[in-house]
Symmetry: C2
Subunit: 330 residues, 2 copies
């Protein structure tokens, strides 16, 4: 995987203030509104007592297709020009972006070509099919995924929609934090997990624009800590063979998400695999909602006392709820 | 178990209209309001498309102590006179009523004596302890439970709070349907599961008083079909050795719940064990909420086409979300 990531050149001169990103987020809110849920906030007195802070959870597990990815996918697909959408969209993904993009394309009446590894879970393959995606299977390596996607792009002339390293996707994901800020003002901290950084960079931008006093803290599995290390060293260091139960967080940052994160995120902390499972089970048991392992990573950071959370008002974005119920980690 | 239930004499002359039950429900709403959640309604376009009807779920799995039982328990404990509460309350229960009663008593500053079978799940024992209940263990037979409870009552002079065969409990449980009717008017059908009949009789009364055009349909495991058979034959027939995964529904109707059900419930249908598991997993997967097996029984009736649901607006009361996550039925 390293060879691939070496190709990424960080655009150091990336200047946020020159980009109309605030407008892009406001526009995304309007674009996606007819097609996604304004998801509810939930809290648990039980968890608040347990951890000595006020936690509020933005429930993107209740989002269309079961994850925040629907926001970015809808924004990207519905922002395409008539020309760009003519031959459909394409991506490679084994996860939530695949289903979200398939759904978005079907809603706009265009094709979605999804390259999936041939070892993808049946649940995820079924979801992409259900939403009308056209699947091309490949061997489960990054190089095979990219080569296969390139062949699909050459053949179809579809527009590639990257799962996170894309400003239109990021503006879409930013709407989750924007809603959280509107519905629960005065937060001290907003937390997200971090994988490729689409949700985190969007959240950091929304917080910067709409609640600048709120800090943004990201949590990452220690076993896939590229964002943590890149953030500490202020240079891009990709993950090598990340091995974490948080399957949505195995990707590395991109050259668009990284500089936004460097500029607008206050802290990145890492958590153990056992604390992720503990946090996930705690939310299932106490809050009676299904969250996927990636979504448990911020609470795991609180369990592990990774930052000063006592007495704070903390909003946590629950990224999704797509779990294989036949393969639970306990 | 039969010998015990023979003792129950159905009070055929039980005349609802002479009882101020509507007032009792309105009062219960006020009594419980500071101590329970007004639980949210959720729906799923996915499930609606699948079954060809409009389903709305009243999420008592998000209720305090994880089940609707908190409503009745709070109403019962906070309706006790100063004399009656002096020596605390007592019940025998291995389930949600035990935790709910312990919580209610602790909130009112009195003791809750809970008789629990010594094979109760550790999760449930922990919940009762967490809420401050004083547990007396007994051997896991109904006669031992009742004898042990009698000893506890003799020793403590506590007031017994029956889990369902008690009008104050029923009035408390009725508030769930009352809220559902207020928040989602115009329902064609309201559904609940049926075990001892506390939730069902309360729901039937609330529907009669507040939405008289709405039909009430109850669903019951075929393996614990005392309510179905009693309803069909219009005479009380207790369950004998009920064996169902829906652990909240193994109890038989009581002499207070049965006549209310006979008078105000439109239909009772039975469902298979496999359809209960299928419905439970479907709700977990599609709605991303944790519901216990008993709560899946109404949807199982829709899966099994047990009544004419097509095109109907149907409210389903999700009774609770207390599940042992280490012992899932799939």
């Amino acid at each position: 995987m390293r060879s691939d990531h070496r190709k990424i050149r960080i655009v150091k001169s990336y200047i946020l203030d020159n980009l109309p990103l605030k407008k892009a987020i406001l526009k995304a809110s309007k674009v996606i509104e007819p097609f996604v849920h304004r998801t509810p906030l939930l809290s648990s007195e039980n968890l608040n007592q347990m951890f000595g802070c006020d936690l509020v959870f933005k429930c993107e597990n209740f989002q269309k297709a079961g994850a925040f990815k629907s926001r970015g996918a809808i924004n990207a697909v519905f922002s395409l020009s008539a020309d760009a959408m003519l031959n459909g969209v394409a991506t490679h993904s084994s996860g939530n972006h695949a289903a979200a993009l398939a759904r978005a394309a079907t809603l706009r009446g265009i094709d979605a070509h999804i390259v999936m590894p041939n070892n993808s879970s049946q649940v995820k393959v079924a979801a992409v099919k259900q939403y009308g995606g056209k699947i091309t299977f490949c061997t489960p390596t990054l190089s095979s995924r990219e080569e296969t996607l390139q062949k699909v792009l050459n053949k179809t002339n579809a527009t590639e929609i990257h799962p996170y390293n894309n400003l239109v996707i990021i503006a879409g994901q930013a709407t989750a934090a924007k809603e959280l800020i509107e519905d629960w003002p005065g937060l001290d901290i907003i937390m997200t997990p971090v994988g490729g950084g689409g949700l985190l960079s969007g959240t950091a931008l929304a917080t910067y624009f709409f609640s600048p006093k709120t800090k943004v803290i990201a949590a990452e599995p220690a076993n896939a800590d590229d964002a943590f290390r890149s953030f500490q060293q202020k240079q891009f260091i990709p993950s090598i063979n990340p091995d974490t139960i948080a399957d949505g967080l195995r990707t590395s940052l991109g050259n668009i998400t990284f500089p936004i994160i460097i500029k607008h995120v206050n802290k990145i902390v890492t958590v153990s695999e056992s604390s992720i499972v503990e946090a996930m089970k705690l939310v299932w048991e106490r809050m009676k909602i299904i969250i996927e392992p990636s979504s448990a990573v911020p609470l795991a950071a609180i369990i592990q006392n990774k930052f000063d959370h006592k007495g704070k008002k903390i909003g946590i974005i629950i990224s999704g709820g797509n779990v294989d119920l036949d393969k639970l980690p306990w």
